[in-house]
C-alpha cells in the first residue's frame, strides 16, 4: 500500500513536470482571470447601456469596426479598411472576411447595417450608442462586405466613437428573439462570449475560439485566457483583501493602498492619468455672486490646487488647468502657462476690482453684503475633502463658502435647474467632444451645461470642432476652445487623479492601453 502510494506520487510529480514543459512550449491557452468591479452593469446590451462598467466588459465581448492602437491611432477592427469622402459625409467600410457572431452567424454588411439601425431607432432608447453615431442618417449594405454610412453633416468624433466597444455590431435577429433577456446574454463579435451572469455577484466570459479578426496590435487568433470573470465587490477594503488573498486577479487600487502594495513588490502595478478632469468647481453664471466674471477670475487665482493634490489625492494626481486633461486627444499643453495659477495678491486685487473689500471681521463685503456662497457636492470622499480644503482656503481671503452635499441623482437635477451658485463635478470621457456636453448652449436645462452659460461664439467654436474631419484643423480649434473657456472662467479646474491597476504576478504580456484599460488580448497565465 505504502509503496503504491509512493509510486503514485512519483508518477504525479513526473506528469506535472512534463505537463509544465509541454505547456510552455506549445500552449498559452487556459486559466481564469478575475477582475474586480465596484459596479454591476445595468444591462450588457451595448446599445441600451449607459454604464461605464458595461463598456468595460464589452471590451471583451465586442469588436467594433475600428480600434485604437497603443499610440492612439485609429486602426482596423472588424473593418479591414475605410474611406471618408472629402466633404466628410460618406464613410465606407470594408469588413474583414470570415468574421462570425458568437452564435456562428456570418457578419455581413447587412448584419452590421441592422445593428447600427437598431442603435439609432428611437424604440431602442439608446443612452450612449445613438449619441455616438450623431448625425448618421442612412446605413447601406453596398455588397456583402461593404458598408456605407451617410451623415447629414460632418461629425469629427465619429472616427473615435466607432472604436467604442458599445458600437460593436450585435446580431439583431438574436436580440429580437431574446427580448429583454438579450441584455443578460448578448450576441456580438468579440474575443469573449457572455457565459453566465449571476445577479449581484459576477459575470463570466468564456473565450471565443472562432475569433480571428482582432486589431493589428493583437496576435492573430483567439485570446489565450480561457475565462474572464467580472466580480462585483462594492466595498474597497474587501476588494483589496480579496486581491491580497489571491481570490481576485485584477483591481483598480484605492489611492491609500497604492504605496503599501507597491512596497510588497509582489504585484504588477500600472498607473495612468484619468481620462477626464477629476474634480472642478463650476460656477452658475446666472446666479449671484458668480454672474460677475471678475469674481470667477479671482477664485481661479485664490484656490491653491497643489495643496488639494497633496492632501486629497495624497500626491497621486496632477493639478488641472483647463477643461481637458493631458490624457485626452486635443489637450493643449500650453494651457498650463495660459491659465491662472495660485496668486493671493492677484486674487485680492480682483476681489477688490469687483467691489469687495475686507470688513471689520475680515470678511469681504460690498455695500454691507458679505461675499458668501453655497457649494453643492456629492457625498463622495474626495469631493467632500476637496470642498473642506477649498472652504478653509477661501476663508483666508474672507470669502465664506458653505458646503451642501446631495446624492448624485439629486445633484444632477438641481444643477440642470440651476439651483446652485457653484458646484463640484468631474468626468471621464474618450473625446475632446466632451466640451460640447459641458459648454454648448444646447445642453442648458436638459443636458450637462451646469454653468448655464450661453454664448454664440463659444457654440460656433464647438460646432466647428465637431465638423472638422481634418485632425490638424480640429486640434487647432480645440486650442482656441480651451483658451476661451479659461478666459470666461466658467470653472476652476482643480485636479485629475492617477488611476492605479494592480495585477497578480502570474499574468504575462498584459498591457496598459492609452484608453485607460488593461489589454488582455495577448496575455496568458503562468498559473492556472
Amino acid at each position: 500500500m505504502r509503496r503504491n502510494f509512493a509510486l503514485c506520487i512519483t508518477l504525479l510529480v513526473a506528469a506535472a513536470g512534463w505537463g509544465t514543459v509541454l505547456y510552455a512550449q506549445e500552449s498559452r491557452v487556459g486559466g481564469t482571470w478575475t477582475i474586480v468591479s465596484t459596479e454591476e452593469p445595468d444591462t450588457l446590451d451595448p446599445q441600451k447601456t449607459g454604464a461605464a462598467v458595461a463598456a468595460a466588459i464589452f471590451q471583451f465581448v465586442g469588436e467594433p469596426l475600428l480600434a485604437h492602437d497603443f499610440s492612439n491611432r485609429v486602426v482596423p477592427g472588424l473593418a479591414d479598411s475605410w474611406t471618408i469622402s472629402s466633404d466628410g459625409l460618406v464613410w465606407t467600410f470594408k469588413l474583414k472576411a470570415g468574421a462570425v457572431f458568437h452564435n456562428g452567424t456570418p457578419i455581413t454588411a447587412q448584419a452590421v447595417k441592422a445593428s447600427i439601425e437598431r442603435a439609432i431607432a428611437p424604440e431602442t432608447k439608446s443612452p450612449v450608442a445613438k449619441a455616438q453615431l450623431g448625425p448618421v442618417k442612412a446605413v447601406d449594405a453596398v455588397d456583402a462586405r461593404t458598408l456605407r454610412l451617410t451623415l447629414s453633416e460632418p461629425f469629427a468624433p465619429l472616427i473615435n466613437n466607432l472604436g467604442d466597444p458599445r458600437l460593436s455590431p450585435i446580431d439583431v435577429r438574436a436580440a429580437e428573439s431574446a427580448g429583454s433577456g438579450f441584455g443578460r446574454a448578448p450576441v456580438s463579435d468579440g474575443p469573449y462570449v457572455v457565459k453566465e451572469w449571476v445577479s449581484g455577484h459576477h459575470v463570466t466570459l468564456a473565450r471565443n475560439p472562432a475569433f480571428t479578426w482582432g486589431p493589428p496590435y493583437m496576435h492573430h487568433g483567439p485570446a489565450y485566457i480561457d475565462q474572464i470573470i467580472y466580480r462585483f465587490i462594492p466595498d474597497s477594503a474587501t476588494q483589496v483583501a480579496a486581491f491580497e488573498s489571491g481570490e481576485v486577479s485584477q483591481l483598480g487600487l484605492p489611492p491609500h493602498d497604492v504605496a503599501r502594495l507597491q512596497a510588497t513588490k509582489k504585484y504588477q502595478i500600472f498607473r495612468f492619468l484619468r481620462k477626464g478632469v477629476g474634480e472642478f468647481l463650476e460656477f452658475n453664471v446666472t446666479k449671484e455672486p458668480f454672474s460677475d466674471i471678475r469674481l470667477r477670475r479671482a477664485m481661479n487665482y485664490a484656490i491653491n490646487k497643489d495643496v488639494l493634490v497633496k492632501v486629497v489625492l495624497e500626491g497621486l494626481g496632477e493639478p488641472a488647468y483647463g477643461p481637458l486633461p493631458p490624457s485626452i486627444w486635443g489637450y493643449w499643453p500650453g494651457i498650463v502657462d495660459y491659465a491662472p495659477h495660485y496668486d493671493p495678491a492677484k486674487a485680492k486685487q480682483l476681489f477688490a476690482e469687483a467691489g469687495f473689500t475686507p470688513g471689520p471681521d475680515g470678511t469681504l463685503q460690498k455695500a454691507g453684503r458679505p461675499l458668501a456662497f453655497t457649494l453643492y457636492t456629492t457625498p463622495a470622499d474626495t469631493g467632500v475633502r476637496t470642498a473642506q480644503l477649498v472652504q478653509a482656503n477661501l476663508r483666508g481671503f474672507g470669502v465664506r463658502m458653505d458646503i451642501q452635499t446631495y446624492e448624485f441623482g439629486t445633484i444632477l437635477e438641481k444643477f440642470k435647474k440651476g439651483d446652485q451658485q457653484a458646484g463640484f463635478m468631474g468626468y471621464t470621457y474618450n473625446e475632446p467632444d466632451i466640451m460640447y456636453i459641458w459648454f454648448d448652449s444646447a445642453n442648458i436645462g436638459s443636458g450637462l451645461n451646469f454653468s448655464h452659460y450661453a454664448d454664440p461664439k463659444l457654440d460656433a467654436l464647438i460646432d466647428a470642432a465637431r465638423h472638422a474631419t481634418n485632425l490638424t484643423k480640429r486640434a487647432a480649434i480645440y486650442v482656441d476652445l480651451q483658451k476661451y473657456v479659461v478666459d470666461k472662467a466658467l470653472w476652476v479646474p482643480l485636479w485629475t487623479n492617477y488611476n492605479y491597476i494592480a495585477l497578480q504576478p502570474w499574468i504575462k504580456d498584459a498591457k496598459i492601453h492609452p484608453d485607460g484599460y488593461v489589454f488582455l488580448g495577448d496575455a496568458y497565465l503562468t498559473k492556472r
Binding site: 428611437p122 432608447k125 455577484h201 477594503a237 483583501a241 481570490e247 441623482g409
Partner: protein
Amino acid sequence: MQAFILRRLGAVVPVLLVVSVLVFLMSHLTPGDPATIMLGENASAADVARLRHELGLDRPLAVQYGRYLAGVLRGDLGRSIRSGRPVALEIWDRFPPTLQLTLGAMAIAAASGVLLGALAAAGRSGAADTIVMSTSLVGISMPSFWLGLLLILLFGLMLRWFPIAGGDDWRALVLPAVTLGAQAAAVIARLTRASLLDVLPSEFVRTARAKGLAAVRVLFRHALRNALIPVVTVMGLQFGALLGGAVIVESVFARSGLGRFAVAAVQSRDFPVIQGIVLFAAAVYALVNLSVDVAYLALDPRITYDR
C-alpha cells in the same frame, strides 16, 4: 390553530394593501417624472409624452393604482428601468442569497445567544456571567461593517480559513452570517439571561430541583422553556432587523442579495424595483410575525388562540 393562522393571514391582507398604496404613491410624490427618468438625459418632449401615455401616467391616480394593483396580484411588479427585466424576476434572483444569510445569522444568533444567556444566568455574578455580559455589550456596540472587516482580516487574509469574497458553498456563508448575527446574538443573550433570572426563583423550578433533577435539566428543560416567550418575540423582531442589516453585510462581503439591490435601485431611481422590494419585504415581515405567534403555541401550551 388552523382557524387562527387563516385569520392572521387574512389580517395580513389589509396591511399589504396599505403598503401597496404607500409604495404606489412613492413614485408619484417624489420629484421627477418616471417617464423622464426612464428615457434619460436627452429625451424629446414628444417621446416623454408618448411614454407617459404608454405607461398610463396621464390617467387619474386611482385608475393608475387600480392597474398597478391588478398587476401585482398577477405577480407582475413591472419592469426594472435599469435592466429592462421584470422586477419579480430580479427579486427572485436575489432573494435566495439574502434568505440564506439571514437564516444563517439567525441560527448563529439564536443558538449562541440562548446558550450564553443561560450560562450567564446559571452562574449569576460569577466569572461566566461577567464575561458573557461584557462580550455582549461589545457585540451590541460594534458596527457590522467594522466587525466584518476585522473577520476578513483575521480569518480571510491572515489565517485563510474562509474565502473573503468567495463562491457559493457554505464556507463563504460563515463570516457574513457571524457578522450579521453578532448583534442579534448579544441582544438575545442579554434578554435570555434577564428572563431566566425572573423564572429561576419560581416555585416550579424549586419543585424540579427538589425532586432531584439534574441542574442542567432543570435549567434547559424547565426554566428556559418558560423564559423563552419574550426571547422568541425579540427573535422575530431581530429577524426583521437582520433582513435590513443584510444591506451592509452584503456590501462588505460582496454577496448578491436584496439589500444591496435595494440600495442600487435607490441610487439609480429605479422606482419599479424599489416598490417591488418594499412590498416584498413587507410581506416577509408579516409572515415572520405570524410564525412568531405560532411559535408561542409550541413553547407554552397554556397559550391558545382558539375559542
